[in-house]
Subunit: 415 residues, 2 copies
């Protein structure tokens, strides 16, 4: 007798995007596979001793607090720390503007619950972050897309897309996932002006903003919004909700991230978070605070930047050395990913099968497009493998690419 559940599943569960990545992650757990598939930080730079000290300190000084239920909004000293950190980037917020979430994925889930009615249209970049599409899909979102190029979201197409009346825009301005590109300063200003003109607010997702390896820091949208609108209401932010996380700065295994929004939005998101998971682990929030405080986070981010910068360079060089000239890729100035474009006709899902035979993995491009496959792309991560492994992995991948190019070429000749 079959289980009685399947015919009871809600409409919202009819999204299958996640299965690709989940299946892929299982395959890449084989130790011989060099994986460019995940968005995994380099585990060898986790500040393990600092974490040990922090756990010991928290469990010695405040164990009854650390192990108990806590407030939904988050651990207050950590929220205050975040306020200070963000002020350095011009993001003026008070503690009441900050909600701690269980990773940035939860921030997306809470925002989806707060804002999306089934059938609501959202404006997203094409391609965009797969995890955001999953969270938005679950609440029944539809999409209008704007393409990206080397300077990020192409604002030439923005106004037409805004006229279709999206509920909000979801934008990754820095080292975009999966594109690896960064929104230029002039386009940021245009984006914020158009957001104001059409009254369409922005979710600014910025997990990697501090991980810049070259070029100059760009102004966050949340800062431009405030300046642009010339508000005099102090710390209250307006038209942009800003997201960031400790996952890429310290460690993703703790699941600690944050949302910056106007206090009334934070109050509503907190109410939703209460029914979602009551609160983020008190213990991991306190440990995160103890590790990050007193300048450690800044020092540690410098280390991460130098390690990832070297890996990014190693990947760029290996791509140039091994890949055929008909393949192109983006040149990220930071973050964790770059985006490869292959000749039309190459199916990167098939390419993945071939790559896995050669013990190398990547994520095919199509799940990052809300409206399906848009050409022959793959996302490559450069933060998780060492420079030597990156070079070897790109060499293996180039063999799979050559194989597929030949195969497609042969098909064309027969056609």
């Amino acid at each position: 007798m079959a289980a009685p559940w399947a015919h009871r599943y809600a409409q919202r569960t009819k999204c299958a995007k996640s299965s690709i990545i989940r299946e892929l992650l299982k395959v890449t757990q084989r130790p011989e596979v060099i994986s460019f598939a995940g968005g995994l930080p380099a585990p060898e730079v986790f500040p393990v001793e600092k974490f040990k000290e922090a756990c010991n300190k928290v469990l010695t000084e405040k164990p009854q607090f650390a192990l108990q239920y806590g407030p939904t909004e988050g651990y207050r000293p950590l929220r205050e720390f975040i306020v200070q950190q963000m002020a350095r980037y011009g993001i003026l917020a008070g503690v009441d503007n900050v909600l701690i979430t269980s990773g940035s994925q939860q921030a997306l889930d809470l925002i989806a619950k707060l804002l999306i009615n089934r059938g609501d249209r959202l404006l997203v970049e094409s391609p965009t972050y797969l995890g955001a599409l999953q969270a938005f899909d679950l609440m029944g979102a539809e999409y209008v897309t704007v393409p990206i190029d080397d300077r990020g979201l192409n604002t030439d197409y923005l106004e037409a897309a805004l006229r279709s009346g999206p509920k909000f825009m979801y934008i990754l301005p820095n080292f975009q996932n999966p594109g690896g590109v960064t929104l230029s300063e002039d386009r940021r200003r245009e984006l914020v002006l158009l957001s104001d003109k059409y009254g369409i607010p922005i979710i600014e997702d910025d997990p990697y903003g501090q991980l810049r390896y070259e070029g100059e820091h760009k102004t966050p949208l949340v800062v431009l919004d405030r300046t642009n609108l010339q508000r005099d209401d102090g710390y209250t932010l307006g038209n942009v909700i800003y997201l960031s996380t400790f996952s890429k700065l310290l460690a993703p295994g703790l699941r600690v991230a944050w949302i910056v929004a106007p206090p009334d939005v934070i109050a509503r998101l907190s109410q939703i978070k209460q029914s979602t998971d009551l609160h983020t682990s008190t213990f991991t929030q306190m440990v995160t605070y103890e590790v990050a405080r007193d300048g450690f986070l800044d020092e540690h981010v410098k280390l991460i930047r130098s390690v990832y910068s070297e890996r990014k360079d190693a990947m760029m060089k290996a791509l140039t050395d091994y890949f055929p000239e008909e393949v192109t890729w983006t040149h990220p100035h930071g973050g964790l990913f770059l985006w490869v474009t292959l000749p039309t006709g190459i199916n990167t899902r098939k390419l993945l099968d071939q790559a896995l035979l050669n013990d190398v993995a990547f994520v095919p491009g199509d799940p990052f497009f809300p409206d399906g496959d848009k050409g022959s792309h793959m996302r490559l991560n450069f933060s998780n493998a060492t420079p030597e492994m990156i070079r070897e992995g790109i060499r293996r991948l180039s063999i799979a690419v050559a194989h597929e190019l030949e195969h497609v070429g042969a098909q064309m000749e027969y056609a």
Copy 2:
């Protein structure tokens, strides 16, 4: 200029139940208040040294695993440990039947997302757990209710309620929150038979099952279901999804709980969890496993039982000593709560104001009723305060009760 968000909030956010508890928790943070309001474990019995050892072990032996992203389904050794623990209660499951969640509240959120379309009717006990109503409300649930009495859900009213075609039943069989009552063995059998007859599955929420202070262990619904249906498919469970948590056994601040369900349901819930928070903190899962393993959890649960049992007795005695005879209360055999019924006409929200003036707090009964206030009730927690504080708190509360009784009496005379 007002923030542009409020008019964009989704339909689902129009539930205000959470505000009562959230406001209350703020008031009860005043140190002079004796609070019977929360469901907080006793912090003085948290196994702090064991947690220190576990953190150190995890960060020494597997730091790069503990701080990294992990699988959505959870840390496999912890899932295996849960399988072993549950087998002792006759709950036969394999690892593929277990999903780790970020507290039981997340289990409710995932189940709500999986099963509830806006307008779906659910069968719940009246009163029932407030946090479940919050999670179900957010996905647009409607309710059909069945009252509870001293032997739990009153099955005399069950068949009529089932005929209205609920999507599923949500049941707390052991030491119900808020009622404190336990479903009798004969009613469990009747419930499972009717569930089968009408094809209406059950969510069995069992956070306190191991915290029994008197009487005999009752068979979980998930076990009766399996026996009743005489399945021969080994570890695959059927008509009941079972929830439990480490929050009340070890510490709630870690946010580690679990769901037991058929593998296809677990697969779908995992997919939803991926878009909700990717996974529960790898670190807190590994620490939970290291603390719980090798018999420690069993020993620790014995300690908790003896401490809470004493507190429960202290509250029962104080209620008998101080409360007027027109007030009645349930006699829980376990768990964290008892339920007090005051004479009709007493508004327990007003009583709460009076109680707070006397520096004592409780939760008024009405938010536990999906269909609004059903008489004059309050939920009292006995796990968090010491026996001395409990006695003093009940003394203070009795003064507020006497004041309200007099006030209502006076009103009646004038009326």
